[in-house]
Symmetry: C2
DNA sequence: ACAATAAGTCAGATTTTTTTGACTACCCAA
DNA sequence: TTGGGTAGTCAAAAAAATCTGACTTATTGT
């Protein structure tokens, strides 16, 4: 069942809710992501959940999926401009956790 | 099952995840909250969920529960200092949703 | 004295999210 | 040509979150 959004910040908050999204986002800030790589980096996670999270982050426009057509032909996920715009929010959040 | 926290912002993010917390927080910024009031204000919500959310927000130290011992003896929930510290994060988030 | 309101709790049902394991398809190296 | 890596999908199970309805206790207003 689809729900209406009353609180404006909630949409953004929801974008980063879910068990693995914040961690994925944090890693994406550092460098482009690759699927199996992520699976190894994020201990406790699993294919399906990561696949879902990546797809959602992509649909939300925070990550973009890029097929690298060179040398060892592979796929990368990068932060979009919209994704980068969230970095300061994260930083502020991290500042508060100290 | 309890999970370890790897991403620092995730703890904060988790504090405000859940279907009603962001909305509750937003209303708390405006004025002190009262239970049955909230139940009427947030359409679609229910006792149990609000009770749970309020308890969690309290445990996280973002809200404080106060028994008003005057006139019509009742209970109020107010933002704590820690809760107020989150206001700028919310504002930033809301700025991004435009 | 009576009914309504406030502020919940509790158990069980339902829904949503997350996890598991099996299975694809494609490329690359030995 | 066989084995390993990459990047997934699918169905089903398990776990977590949310909702429902009945019930409680205490305080008010009339």
């Amino acid at each position: 069942m689809e729900e209406k959004e009353t609180c404006p910040a909630q949409r953004l908050l929801k974008m980063l809710s879910g068990k693995w999204k914040a961690e994925i986002f944090r890693l994406a800030v550092e460098s482009p992501l690759r699927f199996n790589n992520l699976l190894r980096q994020i201990q406790g996670s699993n294919k399906q959940s990561l696949a879902t999270a990546l797809k959602e982050l992509e649909e939300e426009g925070l990550l973009e999926k890029i097929t690298i057509k060179l040398k060892p032909l592979h796929i990368e996920y990068n932060l979009t401009e919209k994704g980068k715009a969230l970095i300061p929010v994260f930083q502020q959040l991290e500042g508060l956790s100290q």
